[in-house]
């Protein structure tokens, strides 16, 4: 069996497994799983930029929040239906990531990280500043009867699970296609050595910009869907913490692997969930894992599996 076929089979197999889990999971884990799948899409968007292009962003919450507020504000204040509002959420992701991306192209390395951090901090403060519309930390709650597309009530656990799974499947397919296409290979080449890639005649700025927009839009999609499925948009989702989370999930699962974000999000979600019985200071666990990961496992879980045998993992 060719490697291409093997990787499609593996990823679709995981989607099928999640489809079966829908019917057997107890209700608490069922709800958690839907949340994990939406957050996985956020991490997958992050992974396109960090894992494959090698650009470490500390401000992805800006894109996540762009999607979230694009959807919630147009539903709340313009009284749009969920479908068009979802498109607005996606579009605000495209616009924000394109604007920020054009500025980011002028920076590299540590400056890139600080600039992303600053832009997302400015975004977070803007959400707070316009508290009249966004209700700041308190957040917006989307009414249950509004949360439906084409007659499907997305606040119902089963349809919510399927919607989350659909979104994640789309993100997996997009990621796989990107990685297998020439575009993805150029991104990896930029990560490994951008000077050499430029020498080979690739327009690295254009590739970087495309990666930022793709990554930002995927994160915005996750943000918009999170808001739609769980009915809440709050300023916390724009804060630094939510920029650090996808970094943590991707590092834990394995940067530069398609499955890494899912594995990382799943692990971290349950790690924090289980530890919340012991302590309320759950960010302690996040911080400790970040330090340990940089020290001992920069490859992450899936990265480690790839290194030790399954070399074909995309």
């Amino acid at each position: 069996m060719s490697e291409l076929k093997k990787s499609w089979l593996l990823h679709l197999g995981i989607v099928a497994l999640l489809l079966v889990l829908q019917f057997v999971l107890p209700s608490y884990h069922h709800a958690s799983m839907a949340r994990i799948m939406v957050l996985t899409c956020y991490a997958m968007g992050y992974n396109i930029l960090f894992g494959y292009t090698g650009l470490l962003s500390l401000g992805h919450a800006l894109f996540f929040a762009a999607g979230m507020y694009g959807l919630s504000l147009s539903m709340q204040h313009l009284e749009w239906l969920a479908g068009p509002a979802l498109i607005i959420g996606l579009l605000s992701g495209v616009v924000v990531s394109l604007t920020i991306g054009l500025l980011l192209l002028r920076t590299t390395g540590v400056a890139f990280m600080i600039v992303t951090l600053m832009f997302s901090q400015a975004g977070y403060l803007t959400v707070l500043y316009f508290g009249e519309f966004t209700r700041g930390d308190e957040g917006l709650v989307i009414q249950q009867e509004l949360r439906s597309i084409a007659g499907i009530d997305l606040s119902d656990p089963t349809s919510r699970y399927f919607a989350a799974l659909l979104l994640m499947t789309i993100c997996i397919i997009v990621s796989l296609r990107v990685v297998q296409a020439g575009f993805g290979r150029v991104l990896v080449a930029i990560r490994e050595n951008d000077e050499r890639t430029r020498m080979l005649g690739y327009d690295i700025q254009r590739h970087k910009l495309s990666a930022i927009v793709l990554s930002g839009t995927m994160s915005a999609a996750a943000g918009a869907c999170y808001c739609l499925l769980f009915g809440y948009a709050g300023a916390t989702f724009a804060s630094v913490q939510y920029s650090i989370f996808p970094l943590l999930w991707v590092l834990l699962g394995g940067a530069g692997t398609v499955l890494g974000p899912f594995v990382g999000t799943l692990f971290m979600f349950y790690l924090i969930d289980l530890s919340s019985g012991l302590t309320t200071a759950y960010m302690l666990i996040a911080g400790f894992s970040l330090v340990m990961l940089t020290l001992f496992a920069p490859q992450g879980l899936v990265g480690e599996i790839r290194r030790r045998g399954l070399r074909w993992l995309p």
């Binding site: 500390l58 390395g109 400056a111 832009f119 911080g287």
Partner: protein, 308 residues
């Protein structure tokens, strides 16, 4: 009250901010200049300094001045020790790789912050200042008899705030002397200029790194101790100073000490004045965007030669 006294008040508050900020930013700038890494946990060392000051001052009986002096003498070295341990356990092992250091120090930030939350608790706690007399400030005014002094109502400061400004000035001069006039400063500058050559000249670069990281953290902690009688100790107090010292270091030019101090003065004073006219959130939005655009369009800052 007219506008004039407001501005003077803003400038005075700004000077206090600038004093503490310059200590913190010099620490951050030293770490960046010599080790070429960005320490995101710098704000937490500031916070640890303040929290330790509360703890030390609280555990010493008698005159509050005694407790405060003890805090000033003990809290910065303790924080520096913590930083040296972090350097040896974490940063040294990842070879001071710039990007991995940022990730690791973000982790460190959360660990320190949450451990403080678990032990110190979520409350803001005050430390009594060693002395705190109110000083009124006179203004000149034209009257029928010529120039005369008058004391506008509400225009004043405390002796402690003046002392903070003086203490910061003294410390900055001390740092400058340390960097330019001592053997240790020479070694630091050598490491900053060229790590490889310094190594070839038998300079223990790893020990220099550890001590610079400790020194930077100690300076931040000292800033924390000085500010705690004015602004209470709280486990989240490191965030805003971290942001501001980033701004200062970037605008002043990375690794440039004079630039850092000029920028601290600029940011501290404008922070004092801006916060009179704008809401704090808007002021912070402007400040963060300023850093971002600075890094995008003028990454070397006003005084620096190198870009980040």
């Amino acid at each position: 009250m007219e506008l004039g006294p407001y501005i003077i008040l803003g400038l005075l508050e700004g000077l206090v901010t600038a004093a503490v900020l310059s200590l913190m930013a010099v620490g951050l700038s030293l770490v960046f200049g010599v080790m070429r890494v960005v320490n995101v946990a710098h704000g937490e060392f500031f916070m640890v300094g303040a929290v330790l000051a509360w703890w030390i001052a609280g555990s010493i009986e008698g005159n509050p001045a005694l407790g405060f002096v003890a805090a000033m003498l003990l809290a910065p070295p303790l924080t520096a020790g913590l930083a040296v341990i972090a350097d040896q356990l974490i940063l040294k092992r990842i070879g001071y790789d710039p990007e991995r250091t940022i990730v690791a120090t973000i982790g460190l930030l959360y660990v320190i912050q949450q451990l403080t939350l678990m032990t110190f608790g979520p409350d803001a706690r005050p430390v009594e200042a060693p002395f705190n007399n109110r000083l009124s400030i006179p203004l000149l005014e034209w009257t029928n008899d010529g120039l005369a002094l008058y004391w506008p109502w509400g225009l004043g400061t405390t002796s402690y705030k003046i002392a903070v400004i003086l203490a910061a000035l003294t410390l900055l001069v001390a740092i400058w002397l340390l960097m330019t006039r001592t053997r240790y400063g020479l070694i630091m500058r050598a490491t900053q200029l060229d790590r490889e050559t310094a190594l070839a000249f038998a300079i223990p670069v790893n020990r220099v790194y550890a001590s610079v990281f400790g020194l930077g953290a100690g300076l931040a902690a000292l800033g924390g101790v000085l500010i705690v009688p004015i602004q209470q100790a709280h486990y989240l107090m490191g965030h805003d100073p971290l942001l501001l010292s980033f701004i200062v270091v970037i605008i002043g030019g990375l690794g440039s000490l004079p630039g850092t101090i000029v920028a601290a003065l600029l940011i501290g004073l404008s922070d004092g004045i801006i916060s009179i006219f704008f809401s704090p959130t808007l002021a912070k939005i402007i400040a963060t965007l300023a850093v971002a655009f600075f890094l995008v369009f003028r990454p070397q800052g006003f005084f620096g030669k190198r870009a980040l």
